[in-house]
């Protein structure tokens, strides 16, 4: 295995893609983020839900990482915070399920059901959707981060 061809040193201002990609990313990434939250919050009314919305949220951060490089990704959402959010989502979901024991059964709906087809309705389904969104989004993004932060030997040596 030849080591003579080292990739050029990655300078900070030149990390990421061209200025066209960066500008378009700056314009669109907020919209993608908001759309993800829309899908999550309307999970009990329209197709979608916590899983799909979480994927879209994670993809907005993936978009940011691809356009601006891994240093920008670490500045926006460090890997430690991603792990914390993932754990928080899992604990929140289990907590919601365990709170069902207030009514006697696991996963029992303890919140008022509200008016059908209203945004604030359907009992524990919207909070559970948000918990799933945190778990799935942070999980997918941390998988991506683990692959992005992988350093080859010649990168580590420089």
């Amino acid at each position: 295995m030849e080591k003579s061809e080292k990739p050029p040193l990655e300078r900070r201002e030149e990390a990421g893609m061209t200025v066209v990609v960066k500008t378009v990313t700056r314009l669109t990434v907020g919209l993608i983020f908001l759309y993800g939250w829309y899908i999550v919050v309307h999970g009990h009314l329209t197709p979608g839900g916590g899983f799909v919305g979480g994927i879209i949220l994670a993809l907005s951060f993936v978009h940011l990482t691809l356009a601006f490089g891994r240093d920008a990704a670490e500045a926006t959402l460090p890997a430690r915070v991603t792990g914390l959010v993932e754990g928080l989502g899992a604990l929140l979901f289990v907590g919601i399920a365990l709170l069902g024991f207030l009514g006697g059964v696991f996963f029992r709906n303890f919140l008022p059901k509200g008016e059908p087809f209203a945004l604030f309705s359907a009992g524990i389904v919207p909070p559970a959707n948000i918990a799933i969104c945190l778990k799935v989004g942070a999980g997918l993004f941390s998988v991506f981060l683990a692959l992005v932060f992988f350093r080859f030997d010649w990168e580590r040596r420089k």
């Binding site: 992988f150 080859f152 030997d153």
Partner: protein
């Protein structure tokens, strides 16, 4: 019937990518395409003409929904597909770090 046939063609495209290509990244992409074809087959099986998404809406009842069971199955399959894809990419990166190539013809030594 046509859509099932096209779904099968898509699966064969993925299979061709897995069997005929020598680049590890292309093999992984072939597997992803084949996986997508299988998921598509499940969604096609669930489809019913004139039915709506499997959510209780103001107008529609359970009689006018597409079958929700394959959708749940496909959701699980997508998650597992994500995990296996990430694992395959990680292994491919380790192979690249070790051998300096993605070509499976050149990755021959089993030890070292």
């Amino acid at each position: 019937m046509t859509q099932y046939f096209l779904c099968f063609v898509l699966f064969c495209v993925g299979l061709y990518g897995m069997l005929a290509k020598r680049n590890l990244v292309k093999i992984i992409l072939g597997l992803v395409v084949a996986e997508a074809a299988v998921n598509l087959l499940f969604v096609l099986v669930a489809y019913r003409t004139g039915a709506f998404a499997p959510i209780v809406e103001a107008g529609g009842g359970p009689t006018r929904m597409v079958d929700p069971l394959p959708h749940a199955l496909v959701l699980t399959a997508i998650v597992i597909g994500l995990a296996t894809t990430a694992l395959m990419i990680a292994i491919a990166m380790r192979i690249y770090a070790h051998y300096g190539t993605y070509d499976i013809e050149e990755v021959r030594e089993l030890k070292g």
